[in-house]
């Protein structure tokens, strides 16, 4: 479960060199903490979309969005936290062959199976992703890569 201090924030930022450094620097110096982050070009040329999960730390939760909004290159800050949120996370990883049934049950996709384990991908919300990771730990889960949640409003 998310803590009350944890927010899912979507940022539209100017795609300038160093913009990620500005965002992460601000988060650090204001005492917040990023637990997940993804960055990719947005639908607008010259602008990127950042999805991040941020803990407000000792600050009031509304400070996260307000402080991020002060950055000149941040065009839009949306706090997506709440029941209206639709978020998905992509997992790519490798497990032993014994994990095949678990993967199938969870709806994961097998990308490669060559007798030395299975490379899989899975997309789901954060709770489902966490559940699958726990189950796969019994099947030699290794080389796990997580995208971090990306989100939109319902």
């Amino acid at each position: 479960m998310r803590s009350e201090k944890e927010l899912v924030i979507s940022l539209l930022v100017e795609d300038n060199p160093g913009v990620l450094n500005r965002v992460s620097g601000l988060v650090r110096r204001r005492g917040f903490n990023i637990s997940a982050l993804s960055v990719a070009p947005s639908e607008r040329p010259g602008f990127s979309r950042m999805s991040m999960t941020v803990d407000a730390g000792h600050a009031e939760v509304d400070q996260v969005a307000k402080q991020l909004d002060r950055l000149i290159e941040v065009v839009e800050v949306r706090d997506l936290t709440g029941p209206e949120l639709i978020h998905r996370e992509l997992l790519v990883g490798r497990v032993d062959d014994s994990g095949a049934a678990t993967l199938t049950k969870a709806g994961a996709q097998v990308l490669r199976q060559n007798g030395h384990g299975i490379v899989f991908q899975y997309t789901g919300d954060d709770l489902a992703a966490e559940r699958l990771i726990e189950e796969l730990k019994g099947h030699g889960l290794r080389e796990l890569s997580r995208s971090g949640p990306v989100a939109v409003r319902r």
Partner: protein, 573 residues
């Protein structure tokens, strides 16, 4: 046109007349072209920190952005303290630094440092320019960002090859394209209505005014609102001058070294209107006991992120202080009869808790120095204080009537600020007497800038409140750290009169109260810089003070012996 000429041309278009700077390898192309731009007066400092504080003092005294030049590496890094000082106090500045050539950035070239990385946390924004064609647009954006909304310092780091390259015809944009930087919002009128209703219904209202009132030039609106609704007004340290100190409704300064009657008023207020301020720890002291009787906190500030950062207001009004007060005034009502007792109560607190100090111990008292000085300044002089006891004495023992007369590093608390900032203020307001008030500790941190005062024969008078120790730290150690005096002794100091002589600056020492007036007479008769080394009481303390970790109600006043008792309000009402 070369990039270097574009920089200088753009500064002229922005109306810049003064640049405080220091040349070096990575900004030599700009300095090569500087003589071709005689409208730009360049002041050669003796250390880049001095340039930053001069630009800061220039901006605070004039309301126009201060401009700084420095070279790459150590030159730019020496600006960091000055940028942080300006950022904390919302002072508009534009710093232009040279960077190594764009092709060698990241290769640890000679005098290369990551200036963008190092200054991101101490500027409102910064830019790295690697292409000559980006120079005009970037300078336009930098001035726009520095001077609009909540002002602040902006740094532009320009690679040397971009300064040297030919960028073709110079075109300076009228429009600024910054999709992530909105103009500031109009005040929300429904919230203004709510604020007015709360104020009109209040029995014990108090207004506190911060630097934002001065930056918004809202002092007349503040006075009108206060007089119309009969609300007493205190200011923060940086808000000094936003409300005339000798006004019957003045509470003078608030905060953990504020006046007793202001703190009493704040702690008993039922509606507290905080305008153009951050409500920081120096204003609230212990947060859990700050203004415990307030039913309605109304916070007006231009920066939305200040809302609820420290104190959660009942009513948030994100707006320019002047626009908000203009909207508020027509909705305010004259005070109800029932509120007369509140003003009477405040008058009683003012009588019970005046500013006071001991002066019968034979030592020269800093308050005597400041009151003599105030008596001859006729509400016209600009006082630039350093940081420490000298700063609080200069804040409290003076009758500031208008904005812009008291300049100090309030947020960052940068020792060494006063002398260079006073020099900058004098360049901005040559017609005004400028007084630099500093302790000897802070003074020696940037005293190399005396050379600038001499070179330009600036009429800057330096009032050194010299106690041969770090007085504020010593007071804190005495009162809050078990009386252990650790590393506060500054008994080895230069002979300041001889030091000034070495610079060609006349100076005198003052040891006793009766010598004060003659020294000031001499200072005022002398053209150009002058220093008075006041040997003040080494045990003099700042009062009132709220002990660390305590609330505003716990303020401690000057401990006076009966035979010592001297009550000296700073002013008469």
């Amino acid at each position: 046109m070369t990039g270097a000429d574009m920089v200088l041309e753009a500064l002229e278009r922005e109306g810049v007349t003064h640049i405080f700077g220091y040349p070096g390898g990575a900004n030599l192309p700009i300095y090569q072209r500087l003589p071709q731009h005689p409208k730009l007066q360049h002041i050669l400092v003796r250390h880049e920190q001095g340039a930053a504080h001069m630009a800061d003092g220039y901006a605070r005294a004039s309301g126009r952005p201060g401009v700084v030049f420095a070279t790459s590496g150590p030159g730019a890094l020496n600006l960091v303290t000055g940028l942080a000082t300006a950022a904390m106090d919302s002072v508009p500045m534009v710093a232009i630094t040279g960077q190594v050539g764009s092709k060698v950035v990241g290769r640890d070239a000679f005098q290369e440092s990551d200036v963008i990385g190092c200054t991101s946390a101490v500027t409102k924004h910064n830019f790295l320019v690697t292409r000559v064609q980006d120079i005009p647009k970037t300078i336009r954006q930098a001035f726009h960002i520095a001077t609009t909304g909540r002002p602040g310092p902006v740094l532009i780091d320009i690679c040397k090859d971009a300064q040297m390259a030919d960028g073709g015809e110079f075109e300076y944009p009228d429009e600024v394209m910054l999709p992530g930087y909105q103009g500031q919002a109009e005040p929300d009128l429904s919230r203004i209505e709510q604020a007015a209703a709360a104020i009109n219904a209040a029995q014990h209202p108090v207004m506190l005014a911060g630097h934002g009132v001065i930056l918004a030039r809202a002092q007349e609106e503040l006075l009108e609102a206060a007089e119309l609704a009969g609300i007493p007004v205190g200011t923060t340290l940086l808000g000094i001058g936003a409300f005339p100190v000798n006004h019957p409704l003045s509470l003078h300064m608030t905060g953990f070294m504020g006046t007793g009657w202001c703190l009493k008023a704040v702690q008993n207020a039922d509606v507290l209107v905080m305008v153009g301020m951050r409500v920081d720890d120096r204003v609230t002291a212990e947060l859990s006991t700050f203004a415990p009787n307030v039913k309605s906190f109304i916070h007006i500030d231009i920066d939305a992120s200040e809302m609820g950062k420290n104190v959660r207001p009942h009513l948030e009004i994100v707006a320019d202080a002047r626009q908000a007060l203009q909207a508020l005034i027509p909705r305010l009502q004259p005070p109800p009869e029932s509120r007369a007792s509140w003003i009477t109560q405040i008058d009683r607190w003012r009588e019970e808790h005046p500013l006071r100090y001991t002066r019968s111990n034979g030592h020269l008292q800093p308050q005597d120095v400041l009151m003599d000085m105030y008596g001859r300044c006729d509400d016209e002089a600009i006082v630039v204080a350093d940081v420490g006891q000298n700063q609080i004495w200069a804040a409290l023992w003076w009758n500031y009537a208008r904005p812009g007369l008291f300049i100090n590093s309030g947020g960052a608390g940068t020792m060494g600020f006063a002398l260079p900032a006073a020099i900058g203020a004098k360049f901005a307001r040559p017609e005004k007497p400028v007084w630099c008030v500093a302790g000897e500790g802070g003074f020696v941190m940037t005293m190399q800038e005396l050379a600038v005062a001499v070179e330009h024969q600036l009429d800057v008078k330096i009032v050194l409140l010299n106690n041969f120790s770090l007085g504020m730290v010593r007071q804190f150690q005495d009162d809050f750290y078990g009386g252990v005096r650790s590393q506060v002794d500054l008994s080895v100091m230069p002979d300041f009169v001889k030091l000034c002589d070495a610079y060609g600056i006349p100076a005198v020492e003052v040891h006793k109260g009766p010598e004060i007036a003659a020294a000031f007479d001499q200072a005022q008769r002398t053209k150009g810089p002058f220093l008075i080394d006041f040997r003040i009481d080494p045990e003099a303390n700042v009062y009132p003070i709220v002990p660390l970790g305590k609330g505003l109600s716990d303020f401690v006043e000057a401990p006076l012996e009966i035979e010592d008792l001297v009550l000296e309000p700073a002013y008469e009402i």
